[in-house]
């Protein structure tokens, strides 16, 4: 599978507001963090693009969603709830190798997402947000 940055170009055009952080996080996950089967997804219900893939140390069958955002963004519990609702519905247009309507994606993990926060100096941090009361990992 040829994972090039063109994967995200369609969503960059559709959501220019999120283009910067989407591309930055995509690059970081793909090349620095070595994520597998990384793809950009249009989360229509929340009107923003997200990334879906597998961590290198993750041998689970369900990919995880990563939501890029800037340091200057404004989040809310309503947005977080919408993201988890979208996970439940999995209503999205998947951009898969630049082709719409590609092979159906596996069901995403619904118990948590990663929030990728970017800063103007091109640094990024990742935080795990779990749905519900989830004990910290050891």
């Amino acid at each position: 599978m040829d994972m090039t940055h063109e994967n995200v170009s369609a969503l960059n055009r559709k959501y220019p507001r999120y283009a910067g952080e989407l591309f930055q996080i995509y690059q970081d996950l793909l090349y620095a963090q070595k994520w597998r089967s990384l793809s950009a997804v249009d989360l229509i219900s929340v009107e923003r693009p997200v990334l879906v893939g597998y961590r290198p140390d993750d041998d689970g069958k369900d990919p995880v969603m990563v939501v890029p955002c800037q340091c200057s963004d404004v989040l809310s519990p309503q947005l977080i709830q919408s993201l988890f609702f979208a996970l439940e519905d999995q209503v999205s247009n998947t951009v898969h190798n630049g082709e719409e309507g590609g092979p159906s994606q596996p069901r995403w993990r619904r118990d948590f997402i990663y929030l990728a926060i970017t800063a103007p100096d091109s640094s990024q941090v990742y935080y795990k947000i779990s749905n519900g009361i989830s004990k910290p990992s050891l």
Binding site: V74, P77, G132, I133
Partner: protein
Amino acid sequence: MSDPHDGKIPLHISNETAFVWSLDDAATLRATYHICGVLTGTLPQAAQQNVFLGLPLMLMPEEVVLLVNNGVALLIDDSASHTSPSAEELSLWNEQRRAALSRVPKKTGLLVPPTLSDEALKRRLERQKRKEAQTTPSVESEELMTLESPSPLTPKASSKELSYSFTIPAASDFPWYHSKCYSSIKEARNAGIWKYPETPEAQAKCAVFEDLWKQGYFMGNGLRFGGDWLVYPGVCFLLSPSFEAIPERPKGDPLRFHSHFVATVLPSPTTEIQPIQIVAYGRLGTATKKAHMLCCWDESTRKVSYYSIEWAGFG
């Protein structure tokens, strides 16, 4: 004699703060209702430190609201409960006090310091015996508020066995004390002794606190970890032979466990959160082996949504 509090735990309100003065009530709150509170009283035996404290137990405002709303406790206006005594009542109390004082042993003139060595103590006791032959029993009056002189010890007693007894009255049992009780928050608010909750944020905190409490969690103050509360593991369940879940007694007592979560209350689903706050919550939580929990109250659905935040572990 009928219980003036109808079996409810009295919470004594002073300056809009609730105190529990009874040791039994404090134990009941902890063991039965997993409400811990904070001990704030100075220990007489260790007055010059504040690591170990005693009664009274001070409750958080959310704990007070929860206990009163669930019929477990009632509020007492302590100031109004202490009325002025009549001349007869005062006279009677004075007579009783004089009678109690007359039973106190005569002052021996010697207060044995606890640091005295055994040999020095023996010499002092022999001197004391020569001066005074009389020994009297110690007074056990609960009404006395004076320092009781220690009884003379036998020569075999070591300095380690010396003890002082301090009687701190935990209940006002004066004849002119009439507890002015309020069994609901609304009544107390109308009387002007309790105001919490006043704002939507405070109401959200009360709702979230009750929701967590109903799930069996213990809560403590979260100031040290940048949140509203620390949330300790709650009720654990055992499996019966027929695989039926049996609730075990609450296991999350802060004396035995570290907390798993630091909780922050968001009063509405539209409350703004800056990403930098997520970073702060996540870093502090992960560094202390906890997860930061966002508790969002929705007034329209009257439900709480929980989201747990921790560092992702990469990046």
